[in-house]
């Protein structure tokens, strides 16, 4: 589903990734392990379009996406739940979830991309644009009415799905996001990501700053999301133990390079991983 090849990414003059390659098969959970500053978050930022790669290629469903912006990539069916959660902390829980579904609404609004008419001769193209502009108001209105109910249902069912995973969010839907506990905030971040109905979920350190018991609960839900909805997951995590528990496959990232790649069971047995990341 996701193929990253020879990805090089940099923050100004500082190169963070020196040619990272990895693959995420459809329906799987893939973990990227590594220490602080190894380039885990950078990898996700490059995949989701927040950071433009210097070179290398990123393919999502066979389509090159390394030249697309983050706004475009999310509507292809990929949600990035960033490091530190990045909630809209002054908005309510429900407003955060509504924003999670924004990419789907924007698409239905025709806020996406103008249809190319480059093959038309200039005069016809001008006429085409004038016609479009003159009638767009009427067409938009008709389409809005037609699609309103469908979008409403779509939104409601996505919301129900999120509330099924995280009942606490339904209880707190009117609360300001910044006043939630850390675990609830992480749940909201994941819920917000799910509102876009992604096929691929990029998760950055979901355990960050959480109590072990809360972390375990969240990881269980992540596994459920993968198992019951078939959402593919690329998970970045410092806590190797937890990550390898739910992942099918893992990569080890060290100072911007992949040093190990294997199935979770084999990585667990690997001496290097045990020494560096499992603390045994």
């Amino acid at each position: 589903m996701l193929k990253v090849r020879d990805l090089v990414a940099a923050y100004g003059p500082i190169v963070a990734l020196h040619g990272v390659s990895l693959e995420v098969p459809e329906g799987s959970i893939v973990a990227v392990l590594g220490a602080n500053g190894a380039g885990k978050s950078t990898t996700l930022r490059a995949v989701s379009g927040l950071l433009r790669p210097k070179s290398g290629s990123i393919e999502f469903d066979g389509q090159r996406i390394d030249h697309l912006s983050a706004e475009q990539i999310v509507s292809l069916g990929m949600s990035h739940i960033p490091e530190g959660r990045q909630l809209f902390s002054e908005l309510t829980v429900l407003e955060n979830l509504k924003l999670g579904a924004y990419s789907r609404f924007a698409q239905a609004d025709g806020g996406g991309h103008p249809v190319g008419r480059e093959h038309l001769p200039p005069l016809s193209r001008l006429r085409h644009y004038l016609f479009q502009a003159a009638t767009s108001g009427i067409r938009d209105l008709a389409r809005t009415i037609r699609e309103y109910r469908q979008r409403r249902q779509d939104f409601e069912s996505a919301l129900r799905g999120v509330f099924d995973y995280f009942p606490i969010l339904a209880e707190r839907r009117g609360q300001i996001a910044g006043t939630l506990s850390g675990g609830e905030q992480q749940m909201l971040a994941i819920g917000r990501g799910l509102m876009a109905r992604p096929r691929l979920l990029l998760l950055d350190e979901p355990s960050m700053g959480l109590a072990p018991i809360v972390t375990r609960e969240i990881f269980e839900i992540i596994e459920t999301i993968n198992r019951t909805q078939g959402v593919t997951i690329l998970l970045v995590e410092q806590n190797a133990n937890l990550a390898l528990d739910i992942a099918h496959y893992g990569y080890v990232l060290e100072t911007g390079r992949i040093t190990l790649a294997d199935s979770s069971e084999n990585l667990r047995k690997s001496e290097a991983v045990q020494r560096s990341y499992l603390g045994q």
């Binding site: 989701s48 927040l50 912006s69 983050a70 706004e71 999310v74 509507s75 949600s79 990035h80 960033p82 530190g84 990045q86 909630l87 809209f88 902390s89 002054e90 908005l91 407003e95 509504k98 924003l99 999670g100 924004y102 990419s103 609404f105 924007a106 806020g111 300001i176 910044g178 006043t179 939630l180 506990s181 850390g182 905030q185 917000r192 876009a196 700053g209």
Partner: protein, 304 residues
């Protein structure tokens, strides 16, 4: 007592103009952390355009036309002048807005001349036999209010309600609030941040244009007309909290009323009308010493 109410009502009217301009400043500040020093001059410029349109047309034809032009003008400035310096240090952007201040002022003087012009108040409108707006004054018990003051109040209240509904209940409004808070997360939601900023500038220019059209009948139309108003508007925005639209409006009203009361009730030898600006600014300094975020500014609540 009648004199007192008279001053309060007049203060409310001018105060809501300050509030509107402060609102325009806050709309931009919230989403970009930029204080637009050219806000007043943009309003002055659109008012001059309105004057030119009025030479040929009716007031109520001109009004929506000028508001549309103001919004387009705001969007244009964001795209052409502000976008290229996006990401630059805030000081650079502020200097750009100061540059726009000077340019708009000079162009207006060059095009329309420096001699003050009269600008009409919105003309009379009759709805179901009741007179709205226009000349004259209305007797409301303890005091007499001019129709123009009532018009200003009505417009201010209308705009505030419209903006509230827009930001609170429409998807575009929600996306704009999200962009103001966290641009990176907004991009991950699929929101085009640049487009939201353009809309923000357009809205802000529109609100400022209304302020200009409403204040011009009271202070005569001339290139430096918005300087004093802008100063009060800044004061209002700071007093209310630079990130709070409600604060901007309340701040504007407080300053409008204070200005009038100080001008009327303090003895001439001590403070008097000449010192009303100073007194107003003193109040702000005191408020900021006690509450640096302003009356309605939020100290952000975050748990990490």
């Amino acid at each position: 007592m009648n004199e007192f109410w008279q001053q309060v009502v007049t203060g409310l009217a001018t105060g809501s103009v300050y509030g509107l301009l402060a609102l325009a400043i806050v709309l931009i500040y919230r989403s970009t952390s930029v204080i637009n020093f050219a806000q007043g001059e943009m309003a002055m410029f659109t008012t001059f355009v309105a004057w030119s349109v009025l030479q040929r047309g009716e007031y109520w034809v001109m009004f929506p036309l000028v508001l549309l032009m103001a919004a387009a003008f705001g969007a244009f400035i964001e795209r052409v002048v502000i976008r290229p310096v996006e990401g630059a240090p805030v000081l650079n952007i502020i200097i750009v807005t100061l540059g726009m201040f000077a340019i708009l002022n000079n162009v207006a003087t060059w095009r329309w001349g420096g001699i003050p012009k009269g600008f009409p108040a919105p003309p009379e409108v009759h709805v179901m036999g009741i007179k709205f707006m226009g000349e004259g004054a209305l007797d409301i018990g303890p005091t007499v209010v001019s129709y123009h003051d009532l018009t200003i109040l009505a417009f201010a209240v209308g705009i505030m309600i419209a903006l509230y509904v827009f930001f609170q209940y429409t998807p575009l409004g929600l996306a704009m609030r999200a962009t103001a808070q966290n641009p990176i997360a907004s991009r991950l939601m699929g929101i085009r941040v640049g487009r939201m900023l353009t809309v923000g500038w357009a809205l802000s220019a529109l609100v400022g244009a209304v302020a200009g059209l409403l204040i011009a009948p009271l202070i005569l139309l001339q290139p430096p007309m918005m300087m004093g108003v802008l100063l009060y508007a800044f004061a209002a925005a700071v007093l209310g909290g630079l990130d709070s639209p409600v604060g901007a409006v309340v701040g504007g009203l407080i300053i409008g009323i204070t200005e009038n009361l100080v001008g009327t009730y303090t003895p001439k030898e001590w403070l008097g009308p000449d010192m009303k600006l100073t007194v107003t600014l003193m109040i702000i300094v005191v408020v900021l010493l006690i509450r640096p975020t302003g009356l309605f500014g939020r100290r952000t609540l975050r748990r990490v």
